[in-house]
Structures are given as structure tokens and as C-alpha cells.
């Protein structure tokens, strides 16, 4: 009997572990989406013709780490949009849990900062769950077939862009454009937990 209990405990642990491991890994094919941009239009990756890839960035208005990276996200878009790799920023936060991340507040922030890329709202949080984003900012670089080639941080210095000596996302996009191997495929960063609806 004891054996059965311990065996089922082990099984439960394995199950719990595998459930926890939702979301994409590098090499997985990512789902497209249709999410509302701050200008009221729906955005999906398929509407980009000739895109060579995408920088999908889960970010928000309120997280100080997201705010610290806003200018760098703008710079990333400006550097790569003409090369066919645009930024799409997705706000994953529930607006009841985090009222300052509401769609209306997104419009305000996008205007203030003059975001040159779409800033869309994942109101149902389904896309965020599918991707497996956990904190903001959290980046997924995809190739033209929407295969994930990089997951993680933008660079290795949240405080200052100048002092970052590893630019993970740039390196991944450069590799994508050159057709070479992405040097670092997965990184981690401190960030704000995504505010899930209860």
C-alpha cells in the first residue's frame, strides 16, 4: 500500500511539473494572434507581408523594468523594422489586478512615448499563456515561420543600455538575418510577475 501511495505521489509530482512547464521553448512554432492595438485596429503576424521575423515583447505600463526598457524597445524596432523584423509589444496584465495597465492607459502611454510599433492588449491572457511568458519584459524572437529562436531578456543591464555588454535580442535578430546560429537562445531576467486574472 505504501508503495502505491509513494508511486502515485511521484506520478503526481511529475504531472504537476509537466503542467507547470507550459509555454514555448526555443524551436517550437508560435501561434499567431489577433489582438487589439492602441489605435483600435487588430494586429496579427500574418498581416505582415514579407516579414523575416518578429520581436514579440510582453511588456506593460506599470512595471519599472518595462519602463526602463521602453526606449530600448523603440530602438530595437527602429533598427530592424526596415530589415523585416518588427516589434510587436503585448500587454499581458489583467486590468482589474493592475488598473494602470488597462487598454485606455495603454493608449496614453503609447502616445506619451510615441511607440512606433503596435502595442496590443491580450485581454483574455490566452496568448500570454500559450507563449508561457512569466514576467515583463519578456521577449520571444520568432523567424519568418514563427518558430521561436530566442526567449528571454533584451540585454544584460536593466539599468543602462550603455553598460549592457550582451545584447541578446539584437544578437538573435542579427543571427536570424544572417542565417546563422543564435549565440544565446535563452536567458533570464528579473521582472514583474504577470498580473493574472483571478
Amino acid at each position: 500500500m505504501k508503495k502505491v501511495i509513494s508511486l502515485s505521489l511521484v506520478l503526481m509530482a511529475i504531472l504537476a511539473f509537466s503542467f507547470k512547464k507550459g509555454g514555448y521553448e526555443v524551436g517550437d512554432k508560435a501561434t499567431d494572434f489577433s489582438l487589439k492595438n492602441v489605435n483600435g485596429k487588430m494586429i496579427s503576424m500574418n498581416s505582415y507581408e514579407d516579414a523575416k521575423g518578429f520581436m514579440i515583447i510582453f511588456t506593460c505600463n506599470t512595471c519599472p523594468y518595462s519602463v526602463a526598457y521602453e526606449d530600448r524597445i523603440i530602438a530595437l524596432h527602429q533598427k530592424y523594422v526596415d530589415k523585416g523584423v518588427p516589434v510587436i509589444a503585448i500587454n499581458p496584465n489583467d486590468d482589474e489586478k493592475s488598473p494602470d495597465d488597462s487598454y485606455e492607459k495603454m493608449i496614453v502611454r503609447a502616445k506619451e512615448k510615441g511607440f512606433p510599433f503596435p502595442y496590443v492588449y491580450d485581454e483574455t491572457q490566452e496568448i500570454t499563456k500559450a507563449y508561457g511568458a512569466t514576467n515583463t519584459p519578456h521577449v520571444y524572437v520568432l523567424d519568418a515561420d514563427k518558430t521561436v529562436i530566442y526567449i528571454g531578456a533584451i540585454d544584460n543591464n536593466t539599468k543602462s543600455a550603455e553598460n549592457a555588454d550582451k545584447k541578446y535580442v539584437e544578437d538573435a535578430v542579427d543571427a536570424l538575418l544572417k542565417g546563422s546560429e543564435v549565440p544565446e537562445k535563452k536567458t533570464k531576467a528579473i521582472g514583474c510577475t504577470i498580473k493574472w486574472a483571478s
Binding site: 512595471c63 512569466t134 531578456a153 539599468k159 533570464k188 521582472g191 514583474c192
Partner: protein, 162 residues
């Protein structure tokens, strides 16, 4: 001669330790090797609870009172509060911690924004989101990436004390 040297170095280290704790119970700014030292623990040592938090992290602030409760309930457990605020906000973090009655000798701020270089050292299961808490017992690490609610932390510690 060796003995004298030993005594001397012992005295010196006591002196240094006193100096360090004289400026205490305040927040200490540390780097990754010191964090690693804090995270080492061996069999028979006190249970350690290391909470990663920041003044800007709402769920972290919400759960802090539960840590303070647990702290008074389990005096034999060492509570460490590891702020990941930027170092220029150290005073703010310290004041905040004092207001929240966090254990003054357990206040630290980890000053290394190359997070990818050390997140896995805390736990490979950590995505980097906070709040996050590491409980250590007999050299084993138990990692929780979640916001604790009332009573949950006490339950966990009780379980570990068994």
C-alpha cells in the same frame, strides 16, 4: 608563533565583524558571491527563508506581513530579505523594510543587474519574476515563485521543521 598569529587573526576578525554589525541592522548592499555565501547552508543549520522582493513589486509588498508573522512565530528560523531594487534606491528600500518591521539583520540588496548570470544560482526553476522565496533546510533548497497568502508560509515552515 602560529598560535599567536591565530589569536591575532581571530581578534582581528572579531573586530571586523563588530565593525560591520555596528553599522547594522541596516540594509547591506551585496554582490553575487556574497549572495552565494548566504545561500550556502548545511545539515543541522537553522532553516533559512530568503525572500526576493522590491519596493516596486506590489505582490511582494502584500506578502511581506506574512513573513513578519512567521518571523515572530518561528524565532529559530533565519529570515532574509533580499531586495532587488536598484542600488540607488537602497535608502528607499531600507526605510521601507524598517517600516514593514522586517528583520533588520536580514536586510540585503543584491547589486548586480546582469540577472541572467545569477538567477539560476538561486534556482533553475526561477523565471526571474518576483515575488520569489527560497527556503533552505539541511543544505536542500526549496524554491517558490509565488505570492504567499495568509498562513501558507507558516504551513510550509512547519512542514520543514518536522
Amino acid at each position: 608563533m602560529k598560535k599567536i598569529f591565530f589569536c591575532f587573526s581571530l581578534l582581528l576578525s572579531i573586530f571586523i565583524l563588530n565593525e560591520v554589525s555596528a553599522q547594522s541592522g541596516d540594509l547591506k548592499i551585496i554582490n553575487v558571491p556574497e549572495l552565494e555565501k548566504i545561500m550556502t547552508q548545511s545539515e543541522g543549520d537553522k532553516i533559512k527563508v530568503i525572500n526576493f522582493w522590491a519596493t516596486w513589486c506590489k505582490p511582494c509588498i502584500k506578502e511581506l506581513p506574512y513573513f513578519v508573522d512567521a518571523q515572530s512565530q518561528f524565532p529559530d528560523v533565519e529570515f532574509i530579505y533580499m531586495s532587488i531594487d536598484f542600488s540607488e534606491n537602497a535608502t528607499k528600500a531600507e526605510k521601507f523594510a524598517q517600516k514593514k518591521m522586517l528583520n533588520p539583520s536580514g536586510l540585503y540588496l543584491i547589486d548586480d543587474v546582469d540577472y541572467n548570470s545569477w538567477i539560476d544560482k538561486v534556482s533553475p526553476d526561477w523565471s526571474g519574476a518576483i515575488p520569489a522565496t527560497l527556503i533552505m533546510k539541511d543544505g536542500k533548497k526549496y524554491f517558490y515563485e509565488k505570492e504567499f497568502h495568509e498562513g501558507e508560509l507558516e504551513e510550509l515552515i512547519k512542514e520543514k521543521l518536522k
